[in-house]
């Protein structure tokens, strides 16, 4: 038998690493991904798709910017700024090529909590008289954008701190069911927050735990005050949006350019509202005055940072999770890699720097990113081109949006969330594959609806960790290796010898306090069955015993029914190659197992043990030092057993 010996490992010393200019250059390349892909930009192949994607993206950025600013309880013009500056910064620092950074529904919703709490609607009358020179907006609006900018600033700082702490490596805790459920639950929140605009109901701001249900209760109580004009306008907008988007999906392959239905709807609605003077006749709520140009930079109010800490954490966490999921999804689809920690830096800067420029919190959005997929974008140049068009809107086209009804913007928001709400269909997949993941999805969704997106996210992570740890005590621990061929080989060497009872059991998992008890019980069960089969039984019973024993194997019989070995001593070989780590309880279980088998006249040998396991077992208990217990491999253990048997045979012959 060819014995395999353990290799000698040589220790290599790592040489001292002195800083070089190339290291500094490489660090800059790592932290500024634009320096890596900008020089290699292929103008001939990529410029045209990027330009087309940029134009399409600009339309979505303008529509969603106005909408999400409204969602964030600030003036719509700040949404345009939020669509411009974060995208530029992400193009410089981000690694996702198809990630469209800008305003985001979930972070806008979280920011609205802070805005409504610190600058409530009731304080509008107090400040309406004094007009500020900045953009011609009232002090009330400036206070509100100050709060939103403070949330953006602090959220970005938290993300930068996470970047410094290298917390990008902890993103493995976010599983697909948790992210999917969290985003679906948060999208449900966004739809709920838009109900008042869709129906034209005057509603006070409702938030907090179970706010979801209070909003719907309020709607049902005040169902008679619905404005029919707003309701009809909303229904018409939703129908048009859904139909045209479905047509875009069907004719996507034939027509490369996607029809910008959002832009057409905005233009048509504004024109209709302007012609019929809906603001005065029917009392519809419109966007109002949008000033021109970009204001000079101003720092967010630092004295309220402590007051918005909770919302900042929510923005940092939810924004990063949603963006990272999109970046990893696009990286997986288009076969490139994304550094999780670099995304922290990119999104942190995308929130910190724009907060000085009157921007609301930003993140990557699923709808815009899906748009980049379908229009064939190649790099972040598409985002930069979209920024040019957003600039045109800010400087030229802005005042024309005065007559845009709010219910149309709400419709655009709701239809834009279709991608998240469709994730309900994943429930069927989870139910078929793993019911536990299905349960995680449902419970995370319920927590997100009842409380907040970050609470649901935290619950999902804790639940996932607990379930994985709960599986350890119930995992199958042992498998019996096939002994057929080994016995045949043994027979060829000693024809007259009867085969000794040798059982080879593979330990396939780490041995810790969670599963040590089950491991011991399973092993004792196998040994007891082995002892039962040694008792004198007739052939029929032996066949039954073999059938029972074979149920524990991998599909092969382990014993010959025609070979009774009742007088022979049993041997047990434990293949410990799968025993990757252990703890105190695991070692004590192994030692107790050894002593217990010894008292039952069963020899125990351990093969493929790691050095730490050998050291731990010899240190823990008083093992028998006369005969060797630890072997490098299973065949080595079997050969030792055979040689011991030969020695006992020789001693018997010498006595005779």
């Amino acid at each position: 038998m060819t014995g395999a010996k353990r290799k000698k490992r040589s220790v290599l010393w790592g040489k001292m690493h002195t800083p070089h200019r190339e290291d500094i250059k490489q660090w800059c390349k790592r932290r500024l991904p634009i320096l890596e892909w900008a020089p290699q930009y292929n103008l001939k192949e990529n410029l045209l798709p990027d330009t087309v994607s940029g134009i399409m993206l600009a339309v979505q950025q303008v529509a969603q910017g106005l909408s999400f600013a409204m969602l964030s309880s600030v003036h719509p013009v700040f949404g345009l700024y939020g669509s411009l500056f974060p995208a530029i910064i992400y193009a410089i620092f981000g690694m996702g090529r198809h990630v469209a950074t800008g305003t985001f529904a979930l972070t806008s919703l979280i920011s609205a909590n802070a805005v409504e709490r610190l600058v409530p609607q009731s304080s509008r009358n107090l400040t309406t008289q004094s007009n500020s020179s900045v953009l011609g907006l009232s002090e009330f609006e400036l206070q509100r954008i100050g709060v939103a900018a403070a949330v953006s600033f602090l959220g970005g700082v938290i993300q930068l701190v996470m970047f410094v702490l290298q917390l990008g490596s902890a993103t493995f805790l976010l599983t697909e069911p948790v992210i999917s459920a969290m985003t679906t639950g948060a999208a449900t929140h966004v739809v709920t927050s838009q109900v008042k605009y869709l129906l034209g109901i005057k509603m006070p701001y409702i938030s907090g735990p179970l706010g979801f249900f209070y909003i719907y209760a309020y709607v049902f109580e005040n169902i008679k005050s619905v404005q029919l004009e707003a309701l009809l306008f909303s229904l018409l907008s939703i129908i048009v949006l859904v139909l045209v988007k479905e047509l875009n999906e069907q004719f996507k392959r034939k027509i490369k350019v996607v029809l910008p239905v959002d832009l057409v709807l905005i233009i048509a609605a504004s024109f209709a509202c302007y012609c019929t003077n809906m603001e005065n006749t029917y009392g519809l709520e419109v966007v109002g005055h949008i000033p021109n140009g970009i204001p000079p930079p101003r720092a967010p109010p630092m004295n309220i940072l402590s007051a918005v800490l909770t919302e900042a954490f929510g923005v940092a966490l939810v924004g990063y999770v949603a963006s990272l999921a999109l970046a990893q999804g696009s990286a997986k689809k288009f076969k490139y890699s994304v550094d999780d920690n670099q995304e922290f830096l990119a999104h942190g800067l995308s929130n910190v720097i724009p907060s000085f420029l009157f921007c609301i919190p930003s993140a990557a959005a699923m709808g815009r990113t899906a748009g980049l997929y379908s229009t064939g974008a190649k790099t972040q140049v598409a985002c930069l081109i979209s920024c040019i068009f957003v600039l045109i809107v800010i400087y030229a086209i802005g005042p024309l949006l005065y007559w845009l009804p709010m219910c149309v913007l709400a419709s655009i928001i709701v239809v834009g969330l279709k991608g998240m709400l469709i994730q309900f269909r994943d429930l069927k997949k989870y139910w078929n594959v793993d019911k536990i993941d299905w349960g995680i999805w449902i419970s995370t969704y319920i927590f997100t609806i009842c409380f907040a997106a970050n609470v649901g996210l935290l619950f999902g992570v804790i639940c996932t960790i607990a379930i994985v740890l709960g599986r350890f005590p119930r995992a199958k621990t042992l498998s019996i290796t096939d002994m057929k061929e080994m016995e045949l080989k043994v027979k060829t060497e000693m024809h007259d010898e009867t085969s000794q009872q040798i059982k080879i059991i593979s330990i396939n998992n780490p041995l810790v306090f969670l599963n040590a008890k089950k491991f011991s019980a399973d092993l004792m069960k196998i040994i007891l069955k082995e002892s039962d089969s040694n008792q004198p039984l007739d052939d029929v019973s032996k066949c039954e015993q073999n059938t029972l024993l074979s149920s524990l194997s991998n599909g092969n019989c382990n014993e010959e029914a025609s070979q009774p070995c009742s007088s022979e001593k049993c041997s047990l070989v434990l293949n410990c190659s799968g025993l990757t780590f252990f703890d105190y309880t695991g070692v004590s279980t192994l030692v107790e197992l050894y002593l217990d088998c010894k008292s039952r006249s069963v020899d125990v040998f351990l093969a493929n043990c790691t050095a730490s396991l050998i050291k731990a077992m010899t240190y823990y208990g008083d093992l028998d030092t006369e005969k060797p217990i630890f072997f490098d491999s299973v065949p080595a253990a079997i050969s030792i057993i055979q040689s011991n048997k030969n020695l006992s045979k020789a001693s018997d012959h010498s006595e005779v």
Partner: protein
Amino acid sequence: MDASPEPQQKGGTLVLVRRQPPVSQGLLETLKARLKKSCTCSMPCAQALVQGLFPAIHWLPQYRLKEYLAGDVMSGLVIGIILVPQAIAYSLLAGLQPIYSLYTSFFANLIYFLMGTSRHVNVGIFSLLCLMVGQVVDRELQLAGFDPSQDSLGPKNNDSTLNNSATTLIIGLQDCRRDCYAIRVATALTLMAGLYQVLMGILRLGFVSTYLSQPLLDGFAMGASVTILTSQAKHMLGVQIPRHQGLGMVVHTWLSLLQNVGQANICDVVTSALCLGVLLAAKELSDRYRHRLKVPIPTELFVIVVATIVSHFGQLHTRFDSRVAGNIPTGFVAPQVPDPKIMWRVALDAMSLALVGSAFSISLAEMFARSHGYSVSANQELLAVGCCNVLPAFFHCFATSAALSKTLVKIATGCQTQLSSVVSAAVVLLVLLVLAPLFHDLQRCVLACIIVVSLRGALRKVKDLPQLWRLSPADALVWVATAATCVLVSTEAGLLAGVFFSLLSLAGRTQRPRAALLARIGDSTFYEDAAEFEGLLPPPEVRVFRFTGPLYYANKDFFLRSLYRLTGLDAGHSATRKDQGPEVGVSNRSLVDGKDLGSVSSGAGLVVPLAFGFHTVVIDCAPLLFLDVAGMATLKDLRRDYRALDITLLLACCSPSVRDTLRKGGFLGEEQGAENELLFPSVHSAVEAACARREELLAADSAL
């Protein structure tokens, strides 16, 4: 081994046992069958239920008088003698009158005799639980406006207190003195903890004790022992210091002791030193001559008797102002229902009390069952310990669980069954009815010394820490974290911290399992790690990969990185690159067609798959414990990428649960034959199948 394997295999009969397909019944039929089975009531079922609830009914008729009686009576007497001083001492720890400890010892022993499944475990006063009860009692006394630091000292106060309690019970007034309110809090806490334990037993939550590992319990006992030692130091020195609660209790108490050490009572200090010396010396002698002495020396009883006599005749209380135990009344008090309002307030504390009591009781019962060759039921133990808390709560008792030291004494003195508990209860009953007033003049510092000396076993576990560190550094860290949090924060926080750290260390280690390429050992069917062993034969053009851990969301990326690194091929990127290159292939094909050479085209077809050096990847799934959705998606993507590169992916040694997950997840496709083609019982059979398939392809190409 020089013999060729082929002839031997032909001679032997290889019997392949295939796994039966699971018979899938209808969901409705399954529910109906289960309901019918559970609703069926018959005499044998009822009889088995009663026997399960009361194991004494089962083993008492089979009691062997000749063999068992002597050992049981002897151990019962010894435990009873040891139990009385410990009960009186531990009541000090729980902040209650000594009489309640005697009640607790009496009722707990009786109930466990009826319901317990362990033969050796002694259920009664336990120092850790007394500490937890005492903390809750002190907090509730402060909230109710009583002064917890006010010790009822003189016999006059005790007489008036007991008289007022009797008057209160007679008249039915709601007002209540300090001691009366303290026992009310304790009984409410005990009832809630017992209800939790009974509920855990009914719901079969005995497996919860699995999550409390031995180093965690040892660390918890160590931390709690330091807290107990701190709480008793003031009694040993006779110093009057304010009671500290909550965060940093141990540190604040020691600071107060150091500040007030000048006011120590000389009589108490001398008595404590003498008692400690005698008790420790006796313990050492008992440990050293354990084999010769069948019965351990009841040193606590001697110390109590001598100290009481000295204190009585020396009149230490009146002359030196030393504090004594006070009056202990005889007889029983009428049963009383615990206050529901207090029960709701202490519900959270009762939960941690129930968990600690359950964990220690179950682990002790299983430990001694394993060493003596019988089995215990964790759920029945939960029911028994729960009833030991629920029923005595109506008789002015407080929380109990299994106690390690008394259990060890039981075994050493020859205990065979739980009949010894009845003997112990009889001894306690004798003290309750007759001997209780004799302990009036016992000094409190003597009781404190008995408590501290009994912590010796737990405190000595510090010596095991270096050994634990060498065995498992992770467990040592769990031990230290649990003990430190117990001392610095609170006992409940220490328990939670220990559980959190142990589970976190386990989760961390499953994320980075070991990955290896396997190779064959000579001519055998075994495959081992090529990096660990010499003289192995790699299978030709086949890569065997082993990943020792479950495949789930936390380590699926590590799985792919390990596989790509060991095989030297990034399947994802290579598949993408191949998709972008069909035009080059078409141009090559046109060139070959132009030359009209068939052999050249077949040669070109053969070269492409071998560009990576192998045509099949076999994954050894024996260490694969389970798969979740992320792991399933990873395997699907991996197979798709390999298929794009004309590489076959096979799985070997799948466990039945992993096999079921693969089938449900759609990995095996729609046909039944796909399972046989993709899953193999062993690595060797997978490698042989891959080589056979390869030879078939080569033969077909050569035929063309």
